[in-house]
């Protein structure tokens, strides 16, 4: 049997079959090597890395305090809750779903923590209870998505309102700050070297995310479901269980982030984390994770986290804040998604002439 292009498959707009190229004779070795190198540099991660280096260089040039260890730790600590949730959001979006309720869950968990402490519940118990609330809330999302079959965008949009509402019910217009000193210290003081607990948790989760997504069977299943849910189902993957697990974990980590947030600020209020969901999703999408699922990597998301944090920090140090920061990130998001298209467009225009 000869390796030839399937006529059925070829109707899709996929690039021509490379197997055909082998039939047409080997390409010059040099050309192939160049192509491989080009692909590496032109890959999404490569592009982000270059961008990141530019930002770091610019920050270092414009602001003397940028490279101080203190600033480096601070810039992470200031957004640590968002980037922790961005890790699990990567999984959710890779799985071709979305969770808009994460920030509200952060608020709910933090407020529940404050409320429980106010009721005299011992701190460790309260923390466990909040983590449990997170899992419960995530599982609640998961139930509507996997069992009832509603789109996750719809379910989590409703719970974006719902969880926030519950947080409000718990604290109303108060702000609660009766946390034990050790809890606040945990959130505000360095634990190991210059790193506070939240950063250590983030690094641990980061390693875990890389390992799970790249090397574990579960990660493989997440990708396959994102690529093609039916293929996963026909392969005997328990799609509902994977999705349920993802949403539960998303709730759990959002709750954890909420607790860390409470520890960092020492006070909880009903509006904690309001609007963070869009920042989190922006980070993940900027990291090259396809909104349609199945494509993207944790490495891209790591780079995107660094880009967003460094960019914000650099702008803050140059006294550019508020809307301009958000606007610049917005433009960056659009541009970064546009560049690959412009490239392929140019390639499309240039190629026929060159190869003739």
């Amino acid at each position: 049997m000869n390796a030839r292009m399937d006529e059925r498959g070829s109707r899709s707009p996929n690039p021509p079959d490379p197997m055909e190229s082998s039939r047409a004779g080997p390409a010059p070795a040099a050309a192939r090597l160049a192509a491989a190198l080009g692909a590496r540099v032109r890959s999404w991660e490569g592009f982000l890395a270059v961008l990141l280096l530019c930002i770091i260089a610019m920050n270092a040039l414009t602001s003397p305090s940028f490279l101080t260890a203190e600033n480096q730790v601070n810039l992470f600590a200031l957004s640590i809750e968002k980037v922790i949730v961005a890790l699990i959001m990567t999984f959710v979006i890779l799985n071709a779903e979305i969770d808009l309720s994460v920030a509200s869950m952060m608020g709910l968990s933090a407020c529940a923590l404050g409320w429980l402490v106010q009721q005299g519940v011992p701190m460790p118990v309260a923390i466990l209870a909040c983590l449990f609330i997170g899992m419960l809330g995530g599982a609640f999302n998961g139930f509507w998505i996997t069992v009832v079959g509603l789109p996750s965008l719809v379910v989590t949009l409703a719970m974006l309102i719902g969880f926030r509402g519950l947080a409000r019910v718990l604290v109303e217009d108060r702000s609660i700050k009766e946390f034990p000193a050790w809890f606040e210290a945990l959130g505000q003081q360095p634990l190991v070297g210059p790193f506070p607990l939240s950063l250590i948790i983030f690094f641990a989760l980061l390693v875990l995310a890389v390992v799970v997504l790249r090397y574990s069977g579960f990660g493989r299943q997440v990708y396959v479901i994102g690529i093609n849910l039916e293929v996963a189902r026909y392969s005997g993957i328990n799609v509902a269980r994977v999705k349920m697990l993802l949403f539960t974990t998303s709730g759990f980590l959002s709750a954890l982030a909420g607790i860390l947030f409470a520890a960092r600020l020492g006070t909880v209020r009903g509006d904690m984390g309001l609007g963070f969901e869009l920042d989190i999703i922006t980070i993940v999408l900027l990291g090259g994770v396809s909104i349609f699922g199945g494509a993207g990597s944790v490495y891209g998301v790591i780079l995107s986290i660094l880009i967003v944090l460094y960019l914000r920090n650099g702008m803050s140090l140059s006294n550019i804040t508020g809307h301009l920061q958000t606007g610049v990130i917005g433009v960056l998001l659009i541009l970064s998604a546009m560049i690959p298209n412009v490239r392929s467009f140019l390639a499309h225009v240039v190629r026929p002439g060159r190869l003739r």
Binding site: T68, L78, R168, L265, D271, S316, N319, G322
Partner: protein
């Protein structure tokens, strides 16, 4: 100001300030201090007015340092303020003037700033626990705000009183919450017995939400006679809602508002009486306090007296509304009605 009905509170203040006597400090000009003025968020007129006041003082004092006006976005106010204070610390600024919108959530960042030697003065809205804050420049006495609100309600509704509701900003706004609490306290008094507070609702300082909340109040409480809105956004929205519904005869609006924004409603009787203070003056005074502390001319401790340019002499006192705080009380309250609102509107 001369037309205003002044509620000068100096008598109250003098009674409270029983600390050791300090000589009045006259500001030495031309010292360098890089200062940052942080509003609750960008896009609200009163904060820009405060900026104008601060700039005026900045030029007057000939500070060769910088004055930055940096604010977060409304949807990201808390995290944004924390980030700004932290960044100011990293940058090595000399002082931060903060209209705190983050409640006690700002405390860790504020403490860190203080540890690095920054001067941290709050204005307009305080840090509730006073931790990390040196002095709060209070526009008016917060307990007094409650009394003023109650007085305005009484003067609008008359002796027999009636039902009224509060339309506040967000449920998390520290100053609005203090004022609402102070008002509820004041209502205990005998003379306000006729005033019956039926509800507190929140318009989140958004025009559209405040407007809808005002309409909902009307439907919810058919006997309601007054909406008290201690927020500049809420008060105009409520006034407009009542005007649009042709209900200005039956229900009135009062609270805290800008004369420029309220003039038409005051003249047509929708909002016969409301109060506010000068945000320009507040910015000016805040700048003076911060400059003096940051340049080491005063320490920012209880009992110090200083001269604040065109505004005269002020003293740092214990803040009677908080356990540990210090404050400089600006005052006075200006209460506006149809007689004086036009003059201040321009």
């Amino acid at each position: 100001m001369k037309f205003n009905k002044l509620l000068t509170l100096s008598a109250v203040v003098a009674a409270l300030g029983a600390g050791p006597a300090h000589a009045e400090v006259m500001a030495e000009k031309g010292k360098k201090a890089n200062l940052v003025l942080v509003p609750k968020f960008i896009g609200i007129l009163v904060f820009d007015q405060a900026h104008d006041g601060a700039r005026e003082a900045h030029e007057e004092l000939g500070n060769p340092g910088t004055l930055e006006f940096i604010g977060p976005t409304p949807e990201n106010s808390v995290a944004g303020q924390i980030e700004i204070v932290t960044t100011a610390t990293t940058q090595g600024q000399d002082g931060v003037m903060l209209s705190n919108n983050s409640g006690d959530q700002i405390v860790p960042a504020a403490k860190a700033a203080r540890e690095k030697g920054l001067t941290l003065v709050t204005w307009d809205s305080q840090i509730p626990s006073a931790e990390g804050e040196q002095v709060f420049v209070a526009q008016v006495d917060f307990d007094q705000t409650g009394v003023v609100m109650a007085d305005m309600a009484l003067s609008i509704l008359g002796e027999e009183g009636g039902d009224f509701a509060i339309l506040s900003a967000t449920p998390d706004a520290a100053n609005q919450n203090s004022w609402n609490a102070a008002m509820q306290n004041a209502l205990q008094e005998e003379k306000y017995a006729g005033l019956n507070l039926v509800d507190i609702v929140y318009g989140d300082d958004q025009s559209e939400k405040s407007y809808n909340q005002a309409l909902a109040l009307i439907d919810k409480y058919p006997n309601m006679k007054l909406i008290m809105a201690p927020t500049t956004v809420g008060i105009v929205s409520a006034s407009k809602a009542l005007q649009d519904e042709d209900l200005c005869d039956q229900i009135k609006v009062s609270g805290l508002g800008l004369p420029a924004e309220m003039v038409s409603y005051t003249l047509n009787g929708c909002a016969p009486e409301f109060a506010l203070w000068s945000f320009v003056d507040l910015g000016y005074l805040t700048y003076y306090v911060t400059y003096l502390i940051a340049t080491g001319q005063i320490e920012g401790v209880e009992g110090e007296t200083f001269n604040a340019g065109r505004m005269g002499t002020y003293t740092i006192h214990k803040d009677p509304t908080r356990e540990n705080g210090l404050r400089v009380l600006m005052g006075p309250f200006s209460v506006y009605n149809k007689d004086n609102v036009e003059a201040d509107a321009s």
